[in-house]
Symmetry: C2
Subunit: 155 residues, 2 copies
Amino acid sequence: MPFTAYDSETCSIARTLALVGDRWSLLVLRDVANGVRRFDELADHLGVARNVLSERLRRLTAAGLLDRVPYQDEGARARHEYRLSGPGRELAVLLVAFLTWGDRHLAGPQGPPAVIRHADCGAPVHVTLRCEDGHDLGPRPRLRLEPGPGSRPRA
Amino acid sequence: MPFTAYDSETCSIARTLALVGDRWSLLVLRDVANGVRRFDELADHLGVARNVLSERLRRLTAAGLLDRVPYQDEGARARHEYRLSGPGRELAVLLVAFLTWGDRHLAGPQGPPAVIRHADCGAPVHVTLRCEDGHDLGPRPRLRLEPGPGSRPRA
DNA sequence: CCAGCTGGGTTTCACAACACAACCCATCCG
DNA sequence: CGGATGGGTTGTGTTGTGAAACCCAGCTGG
């Protein structure tokens, strides 16, 4: 049963890409994960057009990756800020994977522009692949993608 | 030193996204990783416009993620196919991260549309975060992104 | 009490990226 | 010679993106 017999768009990779696979969504999530939670701060730090930011925040909120939380600074009116939801925090591994690859292949001679640490112990964090038999798969794993129970044949 | 004081684009996440952060590049790499190597097969399976596929293949090849390899079927003239290079294979962890998140949050009631297995032993593969102190960080890790040696302050 | 500032957006419009279909070209086969 | 492939390139409209202007509510200073 060749891989091409299965519908490309049904794949979880394709579905996840359809949600966050544009140039801004993951950067928005990165910034929110790092404490940048307000519209203006995000627009300013990312350099994204405000309408695009507005649309992305709406989309990520609707998809349940961000929560829109009211807050109130003293002497200011009530406003909203954006925080990672549970599913949003689970995208962290994806961000770490991006960062790790970029550090290995796109960093300049001075070294990586940023380092991710475990907030509890301060040690640098790495992403690894393991199979259920306990093998560590290393950086260039040999994988097979197989149809699962939710697969669909192509039209 | 707040996170916002550092340039957003210098980050390895941003750099990697600039390379593969569009709706097709990672799907092209997924298909190539699964043995779909020829232009027509890719265009047909992905449903991508041929000019877009052409441009993506050129870009991924130029960036060193794909190798353009000549081959010759019997009774046919010499042609090219695309294969993952070393750096390209290292993106596998990224694909697994996308797949895992999608399986957990976007799969239908029937279960995940695809399963990734270790090609050597056949067991399903998972992606995990570990810090250098040996802690397993679980699906919702607490992380800190800090400026590294290659960081740059913002303009 | 009115003017202005600030955070958090929405609207408008020009332009770049994309999708679709058609076309091209070299080569092999009959 | 005429067609059939694989592997693209070249149009032409449609969608997505970005810059800048505008809006609105509520505080703050005069």
